[in-house]
Symmetry: C2
Subunit: 479 residues, 2 copies
């Protein structure tokens, strides 16, 4: 709800701007429910108060006009897709306009011969995949949220997911972008060809830029032939998470590349069971886990799935796992569904701060050991899962209130420092957002940080694009 006279002026200009347009008008909402919805994402972060308005764009022209207005009035714009971010990167607070792109959800082109699609930013990952599947194709970026997250948001965070070790992260699937700059100009980057090196790689630079360099409005993405045949799924129970992590590291060290290699601990599995009910695990390998046991879920796909799966199973067995191999895809989907339910299950019990560290894959067991130590030292549970094939871990903190309590931040700080000490990184796939910006300079170093600030200033001299995200600067311009 507008509070200052400046906010009221901006809102009046918004209404004039978007009232005048013809047929493709965006709508401007100041409904309390809308404003409250966009204060939050799925990270547990909630902006301290409501933004000025939510603008629902339906065209590139809408976005351009909004950005011109924002630059003219020095009003922050927070771009937002499906709102499933996990780092507070798309949360609108006081003085800001939230640009909601979810209505720009058309698949503009799907070329089955050249295996690409051109989509508006708000298309859901799952919807693009459904359309591609009709041609035997597949959009590989596969975040756990794929059914509910948008392609544009996936690109803005360079989302990872469950299949990256074999199929790469989002960046590898993006051929080109259409981006509205802070001043409202539209720039198209990249190309429709598989290869191309004309000029600097702005497509890659904008991928993962979290709405701070430009507004991604369209994307040309690469599709892949779907893997052939049915995948083979391996479930392996280990006495504890460290043993499970050692099993996963052994798979990597054996030069095997499962399409999926997920590790889930007992603390998180317990909450999934509480959330979904005991029936959800009946007949799955989770049903037979003893207290404290952790589970590894691996999957091999494509024409050599059976051969690969047998070898993965052998390595996991040799590492001490109790292994089941299955070609039943319905059972596999149920099992993987338990993994995908992890975040909603935790979120049902409180606010969730989900860490996202990554370490070299050989360091997985070390990292799990440290997580256990940190949890015990601070007297808190840290349910953890890992995309073990990538060395990417998600330690979770569940809390109540708008902001994680001090002991959670203290534990998170130790986690991050431990990851970096092991040769790792602050965020593997969720992005920096607001929640992790405090550590950015530590990881990048002063010169690297300054260079990144320079990029931000080049693209967004007035500081209207998602200010406060990625960089923790107290001198962000405000009206």
């Amino acid at each position: 709800m507008p509070e200052s006279s400046a906010d009221i002026d901006v809102l009046a200009r918004l209404r004039t701007e978007f009232a005048a347009s013809d047929g493709v008008a965006a709508s401007v909402s100041v409904e309390a429910a809308d404003l409250d919805r966009v204060r939050e994402d799925r990270s547990g972060r909630r902006a301290p108060d409501r933004p000025i308005a939510v603008v629902y764009a339906t065209s590139i022209d809408d976005v351009q006009r909004l950005l011109r207005l924002a630059t003219a009035t020095h009003t922050p714009v927070v771009p937002r897709g499906a709102g499933t971010g996990l780092a507070g990167g798309a949360t609108g607070g006081p003085g800001a306009i939230v640009l909601d792109l979810s209505r720009m959800n058309r698949i503009l082109e799907l070329d089955p011969i050249d295996e690409l699609a051109v989509v508006e930013a708000g298309v859901l990952n799952g919807d693009l995949n459904a359309a591609a599947a009709a041609h035997g194709l597949w959009y590989a970026p596969d975040p756990a949220s794929r059914a509910i997250s948008s392609v544009g948001g996936n690109i803005a965070t360079n989302a990872g997911g469950l299949l990256c070790a074999k199929y790469g992260v989002t960046r590898e699937a993006v051929l080109g972008l259409a981006v509205v700059l802070a001043d409202g100009r539209l720039v198209r980057t990249g190309r429709r060809t598989v290869k191309g090196v004309t000029g600097y790689d702005l497509t890659a630079l904008l991928t993962g830029s979290e709405g701070t360099l430009g507004i991604i409005v369209e994307a040309t993405v690469r599709l892949r032939p779907r893997p052939e045949g049915e995948p083979v799924t391996i479930a392996a129970a280990f006495a504890d998470v460290e043993a499970a992590a050692a099993g996963c590291a052994a798979v990597t060290a054996a030069r095997l590349r499962p399409a999926m290699l997920e590790l889930v601990d007992d603390l998180g599995l317990g909450r999934v069971v509480d959330h979904l009910g005991a029936a959800a695990i009946a007949g799955t390998p989770v049903e037979h886990l003893a207290p404290g046991e952790a589970l590894v879920i691996a999957q091999a796909d494509d024409t050599d799935a059976a051969v690969r799966a047998a070898r993965i199973a052998e390595v996991l067995r040799a590492a001490g796992g109790r292994v089941e191999v299955s070609t039943d895809t319905v059972a596999a989907e149920r099992l993987i569904g338990l993994r995908r339910a992890w975040h909603p299950a935790l979120a049902a019990t409180g606010e969730v701060l989900i860490e996202d560290i990554a370490v070299p894959r050989s360091k997985l067991p070390d990292m799990f050991r440290v997580i256990g130590e940190i949890g015990r030292r601070h007297g808190i549970e840290i349910p953890t899962l890992a995309h073990a094939g990538d060395g990417n871990l998600h330690p979770n903190f569940v809390f109540t209130g708008d902001e994680p309590p001090a002991e959670v931040w203290a534990a998170a700080d130790e986690l991050f420092r431990a990851a970096v000490a092991l040769g790792g990184t602050l965020t593997g796939e969720h992005g920096v957002g607001i929640l992790k910006r405090r550590w950015l300079r530590d990881e990048l170093g002063d010169d690297g940080y300054d260079l990144q600030r320079g990029l931000k200033a080049l693209f967004d001299p007035a500081g209207v694009l998602n200010p406060g995200v990625m960089f923790d600067v107290s001198n962000e311009p405000r009206r």
Copy 2:
């Protein structure tokens, strides 16, 4: 040879700077042979006169000291690896210092568990591969020049090669970089982990930046398990290049992904035979080609090679190819060696301007048809080969003298415009360099071009890093 008093001053400062260092001194050369060597790369471009000096760096510190000196004296620095570039991107001319990185050729680390290597920029691609092979690993970027080109140069141009359709371009193999900025500061980008999204992707931005944003001095690169078993090779003769291109497009359309899919035309093959002698083709499929016939060389690898190769052969046969399938790896290496000899064979007959357009893969036959038309219209031969799996074509112009004659540029201009009209791009893998900068704005558009100029100015405000490469600006700063 220094010509102006300013050059003499710079040279004196260089000698003082590098004479004073201890044991890790770079050497400064003004030998005529050195200066002439670095005026050229493999593109046919030759700088109009000699540079001031060649500095052979042996350490990061050398590079930092040189850049500080260059910035202080406003002297252009042309970074150079093995000098195998094909766009004039590393050619030193009057008033410039050439920074030769070929002596920074140590493999600093090779971690077989986490499957990565840390190398100095001057390490040859082939040498890294030899070291990786000892651990059953492989560095996938595979330009035709791999035996003689450096990893740093490959990264600076985001080199492609013969295996990109399945294994990606150089960018996908680079995890992190150490880069000396224009003012001499050292920045490390990226990480050792498979995934990571902390801050903007400077690693990707610098990959392919052709020495214009910073000097790449070290790289952390991803290694891969070597494909298992022996590859299966398919050779298919077609009546002409258009038919061969249609065969390749059919392979892509059938959702097959050969590790390699190369198309070579009769004009180029003739020159390879002239260069290597008839014995080189004895017993290979090239021996049995009729006049005008073009050859497709495909390869399937890894555990499912036989299955995949059979399907590729079937598609090529259905498209009218005369197909041979072979598991004889010695014979395959001989055949692929003929492909790799293409550029040296052409270079033996004159200066070579090698174009590097890429089109959507379905447009390959159209592009080959247009190349034929352009050649006939201008009365010149345009021997052409293609990485057909990527839609990347190399039409070649052979000429005499320091600069391509007008009719070659006219034909090249038509080629580029035709590629863009087909949804393609100016350069698939060689880079813009000096030779293709005239078309950069046409492809990027004015706003995209200006944004790229802004990036250049941000990283290199004094304009000392490889000025004239990528951007054709008449106002480059000079002393």
